[in-house]
């Protein structure tokens, strides 16, 4: 008989009583003499937060919350008898839904047999033998899948453009140039489940009539490259790639191309130029790649995550896929949740899950119980979503309405220590550094905006700078050639929209609430609280703190570089940041 295991964890924020509760459980188990059949274990994390003491019973997966000493005997008995206590059950549990990451962390990515065991490559078999290319596209339409690379363009539509486009050769390109700061879901998929992407590309190739495909992977992803290479080899050996796949008439070849590491090479026309060996700069569209792409042939470019969905769609059907998500955004989205969140990591949720659920119920809430101020999505092309809009469900439309975007899936949680001017600066600087420099609005506009933000964060800002920011933003959005320049002002616009006061504070009061803008803060020592321990003196990297035990210590503001070391090390809160 399989043993029962009770996992316990105090999920409250204040104190941890897990150990005490565990002893009570131990006692209860001993009382009924079930030591052999029931184990009680302290868990580190049950993925449930702020629900008091929580227990989870394995293998039944029953979860009880808000346990106190009165319930314990009852629970132990129920477990022993195999009963369920309805009144304690956790209802409405926020769960991840894993389609893209279905095999990640489950199978051995270097072993194709394990992918087979999950139904791998049965989708391409189904497409090749049961469906015409037109039917494949029809099924895709049914699924409602939209591109996960940023723009959210309906995948079936892209495929059907390419399918209807005339060309003796056509190409399928997997965009794995993932360059957004903080994003790494594509890397995880390639490292954890490379075959699903290969299968997705093969299906795409069959649907549009391509015989050739490319993986465009950034060179900074050596492990992903290695695993894809290995997977390609295995697939070729078994006739799942190459000539006459699975004995059908369809042949498809895949190769890897390495990206040189410029963010803009993820933009589809720049990516094509880069594969062709040219300077990786965007080109005007039209012509769209589906008409004239790689080597001027019809081509589709899809994101890794988009492609990882495909084989799941054909295993379970387009209808199944479209049953998940919201009206216009189907399926799931993977987010890389980082910043001031307890459980940073990859989260895959059904579209329509609220941001709040992601942060609090899956992410475990804000680090150190600080106040959440905003959540940033969409990376350098996105914007901030202030606390008041945290209930917004995740979907392409909802995020756009708030002035952000889904983007490729970065989600950064920000708390009271984050300064909005500083955040804007960070993202804008990324775009300025990554701008290819081809078109004037982005090349010069971004630089000008950054210099204005720098001015503001240094206390040199004027009110009219805010107008200038708006003006340049407008020019960049309307007149930049590619989406990098068109969206680069988004973080600035959205912080201006929701946190105008914070900008004004920097400009008028010359203050930074979060204490991030070093030119706007000062550290001083409160002589009443100072215990003359000298800890700050020894920790100051520039020896700006002078004095002696008798007269106390002071900080020389000329010398101080505002690194905040003293503020952090002082045990008596004697150092103030103003």
């Amino acid at each position: 008989m399989e043993k029962k295991v009770i996992l316990i964890k105090d999920t409250g924020f204040k104190s941890d009583t897990t150990r005490d509760i565990q002893s009570l459980f131990l006692k209860a188990i001993r009382d009924i003499g079930a030591e052999e059949s029931i184990q009680i274990v302290r868990a580190a994390d049950l993925g449930i937060y702020n629900q008091g003491v929580v227990v989870k019973i394995l293998p039944d997966n029953t979860v009880y919350t808000h346990i106190n000493s009165d319930n314990i005997d009852q629970i132990v008995k129920a477990v022993h008898k195999g009963e369920v206590l309805e009144n304690l059950l956790l209802k409405d549990r926020v769960e991840q839904t894993r389609i893209v990451l279905r095999n990640c962390g489950v199978i051995d990515p270097e072993n194709i047999e394990e992918y087979f065991s999950k139904g791998g490559y049965t989708s391409i078999a189904k497409c090749l033998f049961d469906l015409t290319p037109a039917k494949v596209i029809k099924e895709m339409k049914k699924s409602g899948l939209r591109g996960r690379g940023g723009a959210g363009f309906p995948t079936w539509m892209k495929w059907s453009f390419a399918a209807n486009s005339f060309g003796d050769e056509k190409y399928v390109i997997c965009n794995a140039d993932e360059g957004d700061p903080g994003a790494y879901m594509d890397r995880s998929v390639l490292e954890g489940d490379p075959h699903s992407v290969i299968e997705g590309m093969t299906i795409a190739g069959y649907a549009i009539g391509a015989k050739h495909g490319y993986f465009y992977i950034r060179a900074e992803y050596p492990l992903a490259i290695e695993r894809v290479e290995n997977a390609l080899k295995q697939a070729y050996e078994r006739g799942l790639l190459g000539k006459n796949i699975l004995g059908s008439d369809f042949s498809f070849d895949l190769e890897i191309r390495l990206g040189a590491g410029a963010f803009v090479c993820g933009e589809e026309t720049a990516l094509i130029a880069s594969i062709e060996g040219k300077r990786g700069t965007p080109n005007p569209r039209p012509p769209y790649p589906t008409d004239s792409g790689l080597w001027k042939k019809p081509s589709i470019i899809n994101n890794v995550e988009t492609l990882a969905n495909i084989s799941a769609i054909f295993q379970k059907g387009g209808d199944w896929f479209s049953s998940i998500g919201t009206e216009k955004s189907k399926g799931t989205k993977v987010f890389a949740v980082t910043g001031k969140v307890k459980n940073s990591g990859l989260v895959e949720i059904a579209m329509g899950t609220s941001i709040k659920d992601i942060v609090y119920n899956i992410g475990g809430g804000v680090l150190n119980e600080k106040q959440l101020v905003a959540v940033q999505t969409g990376g350098p092309s996105g914007g901030v979503i202030p606390k008041k809009h945290l209930d917004t469900p995740v979907s392409y439309e909802h995020l756009q309405e708030l002035g952000s975007i889904m983007g490729s899936g970065g989600m950064i949680v920000m708390d009271e220590d984050d300064c909005m001017v500083d955040i804007s600066k960070f993202y804008l600087k990324f775009c300025v550094d990554e701008s290819c420099g081809k078109c004037a609005p982005c090349r010069i506009g971004g630089y000008q905006m950054l210099s204005i933000l720098n001015k503001i964060s240094e206390g040199e800002g004027e009110l009219e700078d805010m107008d200038k920011l708006h003006r340049i933003s407008q020019a960049m959005q309307k007149a930049s050639l590619c989406a990098l320049g068109q969206t680069a002002p988004n973080p600035v616009i959205s912080t201006l929209r929701y946190f105008e006061d914070e900008y004004k504070q920097h400009i008028i009061d010359k203050k930074c609430r979060a204490g991030k803008c070093s030119k706007l803060i000062q550290y001083t020592i409160n002589p009443d609280k100072c215990k003359r321990c000298r800890l700050c003196v020894t920790n100051c990297p520039v020896s700006a703190i002078t004095g002696d035990r008798e007269h106390g210590y002071t900080i020389d503001q000329e010398k101080c570089i505002r690194c905040g070391r003293c503020f952090e090390v002082c045990k008596f809160e004697a150092i103030a940041r103003v």
Binding site: V5, R42, A44, D45, G47, F129, L246, L346
Partner: protein, 116 residues
């Protein structure tokens, strides 16, 4: 190697090729950065020297980056569980307490609610 057919694939899909006793180490870039390679090596070595009948294997990223290195353990008679923050010491404890002693290790279980 023999080229596969559709039937071969469907047969493979019925197989669960994973053994019932396994230690699965998350070995993606994030896991490796957190020390997963060492953990993998320890398990592999110890399982061999102690001659334990358990399959040590790798897998991709489960998404719990805050808890890396992450290890999933399944032994007969116990439900499979996920451990996080697995250092060398924890790895040894998992071997002794969980794999050999059939008792879960306290304070390292990370149980993610995931629907697949």
């Amino acid at each position: 190697m023999k080229k596969m057919t559709r039937d071969d694939l469907e047969k493979c899909a019925q197989n669960t090729c994973q053994s019932t006793q396994y230690i699965k180490v998350g070995m993606s870039t994030c896991g490796i950065a957190a020390g997963a390679q060492d953990v993998f090596d320890i398990f592999a070595k110890e399982v061999k020297t102690r001659d334990i009948n358990v399959n040590v294997c790798k897998t991709g990223c489960i998404g719990m980056c805050h808890a890396e290195p992450v290890v999933e353990v399944a032994v007969e008679g116990l439900p499979a569980v996920m451990y996080g923050g697995v250092t060398k010491e924890v790895a040894l404890r998992i071997l002794e307490e969980h794999v050999c002693g059939k008792r879960f290790v306290n304070d390292h279980i990370f149980d993610l609610p995931v629907r697949r």
